[in-house]
């Protein structure tokens, strides 16, 4: 049976050019795909996933956060009259809370898309096992998965920011764009880290722990709803160590246009580092998990 995609898989170059000894492993296995090709081949799969799930996504990605804005920002925030210095430079509580809300929203989407669905692809639907029987490698699976989650995070945050723009909460036109990129960065860090956690997890009980001891405290105490200086000196430093705070800090600085570039550089460094570490852990953990 003639193979019409032999050149795609690199099989035609495999046997002839291989060195006689196999002790030295090549940097890239024969026929392995470029990162881009590995993701492109999964495009159709993720497109069908998106077609299937976007309706539910609209509610959780767009509607829920808007309810938060109305309840926390407008109705609760109406009682709060802080001067801009106590609100980290925001002109109103709404202007203060929105950048934090969007950043923590980025985290929530990233976490929920990287918990049960990852376990499902390993344990329930075995999607990863089916995909791994093709030229795709574990690395390609992680890349495409993260890319899909990031599409969800980026689009949800963009819509959120656009909808909120007419309410006059942004100090400049360009600040919100940088804030949006910061929110995307939050998504990256949480997606890769939580993916690596989920890839190791044998039962879904671990997710309850993650939400109760991770997501909820982070949402409440990472400076999204109130300045972390209110926490007192010790807890303030604890808050500064959490990944979400770095995202909230960036998102708010850019939205209210009171930017400390040195702090911004630190925030970005932390989030990028977490993303890179998370990615390596995700690939390693999934690789170990799928070896049965």
């Amino acid at each position: 049976m003639a193979s019409d995609m032999a050149s795609d898989t690199g099989s035609d170059t495999a046997s002839g050019t291989k060195p006689p000894t196999t002790s030295a492993r090549p940097v890239r296995p024969t026929g392995s795909l470029s990162a881009w090709e590995g993701m492109a081949r999964q495009y159709d799969y993720w497109l069908t996933v998106l077609k299937r799930t976007w309706r539910g996504g609209v509610v959780s990605s767009f509607l829920t956060p808007l309810l938060y804005v109305v309840a926390m920002g407008v109705l609760l925030g109406g009682f709060i009259e802080g001067d801009p210095d106590r609100l980290e430079g925001a002109s109103s509580y709404l202007a203060f809370v929105v950048p934090g809300l969007v950043a923590s929203h980025a985290m929530t989407i990233a976490v929920s898309e990287s918990t049960y669905p990852v376990m499902g692809s390993i344990k329930w639907h075995k999607t990863f096992f089916a995909q791994l029987a093709t030229p795709l490698a574990v690395r390609d699976l992680v890349n495409a998965y993260v890319a899909f989650v990031m599409f969800r995070v980026a689009s949800a945050c963009a819509v959120f920011m656009l909808v909120i723009a007419p309410f006059g909460v942004f100090a400049t036109w360009w600040g919100p764009i940088l804030a949006w990129l910061s929110q995307v960065l939050v998504g990256f860090a949480f997606t890769t880290l939580v993916f690596s956690y989920s890839a190791r997890l044998k039962s879904e009980e671990g997710f309850g722990l993650l939400f109760r001891l991770g997501v909820i405290p982070l949402t409440l105490f990472s400076g999204a709803f109130f300045p972390i200086s209110n926490l007192g000196p010790v807890l303030e430093w604890v808050a500064r160590l959490t990944p979400l705070w770095h995202g909230v800090s960036l998102s708010r600085m850019f939205c209210v246009d009171r930017i400390d570039w040195a702090l911004a550089a630190l925030n970005v460094t932390v989030l990028v580092t977490l993303t890179v570490v998370g990615w390596f852990l995700a690939v390693r953990n999934l690789d170990r998990r799928l070896e049965v």
Binding site: M1, P29, T30, Q42, Y45, H125, A137
Partner: protein, 304 residues
């Protein structure tokens, strides 16, 4: 197509495959026969280049899975033991999307998917959900999916486990057609009839090792007699009665529910048993099968 030397697979302290030598040639149907836990599936996953070899040498299509994994997988078709079909996708999309993973362009993918639906006799189910298919249809879809890249080598892990007899025969027929089309098949099974039906050559695996190798006919000739007389007596009597008739055959096996007397002339054994004044509840004379070979080689039946 496949060449293994001293192949081993260990999971921590547990050694699933303990050093096997296997040679599979182009165009043949090769079987791994053995009970559950014999190391068949571990061997298959190493051949499928998804499970790293612990030690020994393995070459698939002339390549080393450790360094050429993606290139090898691009030319394999894999039908795993547990269905890994995507329940969220319809039948057609299961084929189409899988083809995309191999880098097949969209138009070719659609064409191939359509052909394979016909091959699997599920064309009318193209838009159906996977979960609405019968067990036999799911298996056929899994096999169809494994053919989307026109593989040189097709790996089938327990292809008919859990299917009813009719569905098994439909599947066997399709595997025959593939074999005639020149596809090399590697099959694991714990059904001796399946191994006899499908395999040109097979190895009997037990506890991670190869116990015997050859064609089904060769194995039966080498390790069993032409016929077997099965004698069923009352519960608990078999052990004692075995001593009284063990001279009637070349060999005798005591199973919990019956005695197996191995002889080239089964009917003569039954006559002689009756002549000795013994009255089995039921008797059956049949040809030796791979089951008997397995019993001989391991002292256990395949169902254990």
């Amino acid at each position: 197509m496949i060449s293994a030397r001293g192949l081993r697979k260990a999971f921590g302290d547990f050694e699933a495959v303990k050093g096997i030598d296997v040679e599979v040639r182009r165009g043949e149907a090769f079987g791994f026969l053995g009970p559950n836990g014999a190391g068949k599936s571990s061997t298959m996953r190493m051949i499928a280049s998804v499970s790293p070899v612990s030690s020994g040498e393995l070459r698939i299509l002339g390549m080393d899975p450790a360094t050429d994994g993606p290139a090898i997988r691009g030319r394999l078709g894999v039908c795993p033991q547990e269905d890994t079909l995507d329940n969220e996708l319809n039948v057609f999309d299961n084929l189409y999307i899988y083809g995309r993973y191999f880098g097949i362009d969209r138009a070719t993918c659609r064409e191939r998917a359509q052909e394979l639906l016909e091959f699997a006799q599920i064309t009318d189910k193209a838009k159906a959900k996977v979960e609405d298919l019968s067990g036999g249809m799911k298996r056929r879809l899994t096999i169809a999916r494994s053919l989307i890249n026109n593989p040189d080598l097709l790996l089938l892990d327990e292809p008919t486990t859990g299917l009813d007899p009719q569905a098994r025969h439909v599947l066997w027929d399709q595997l025959f057609r593939l074999k005639q089309a020149g596809v090399t098949l590697v099959i694991t099974t714990h059904y001796m009839d399946e191994a006899e039906q499908l395999c040109d050559r097979l190895v009997v695996m037990d506890k991670g090792l190869i116990a015997a190798e050859g064609s089904p006919r060769q194995l039966i000739d080498a390790h069993s007699t032409r016929e077997v007389a099965e004698l069923r007596f009352g519960v608990g009597e078999h052990e004692a009665l075995a001593e009284k008739i063990e001279d009637l055959g070349e060999r005798i096996e005591v199973l919990p529910d019956r005695l197996l007397v191995y002889s080239d002339h089964g009917e003569d054994v039954v006559t002689a048993v009756l002549d000795r004044g013994l009255h089995p509840i039921a008797t059956l004379v049949r040809r030796s099968t791979l089951e008997d070979v397995f019993l001989r080689l391991t002292g256990r039946s395949l169902a254990d």
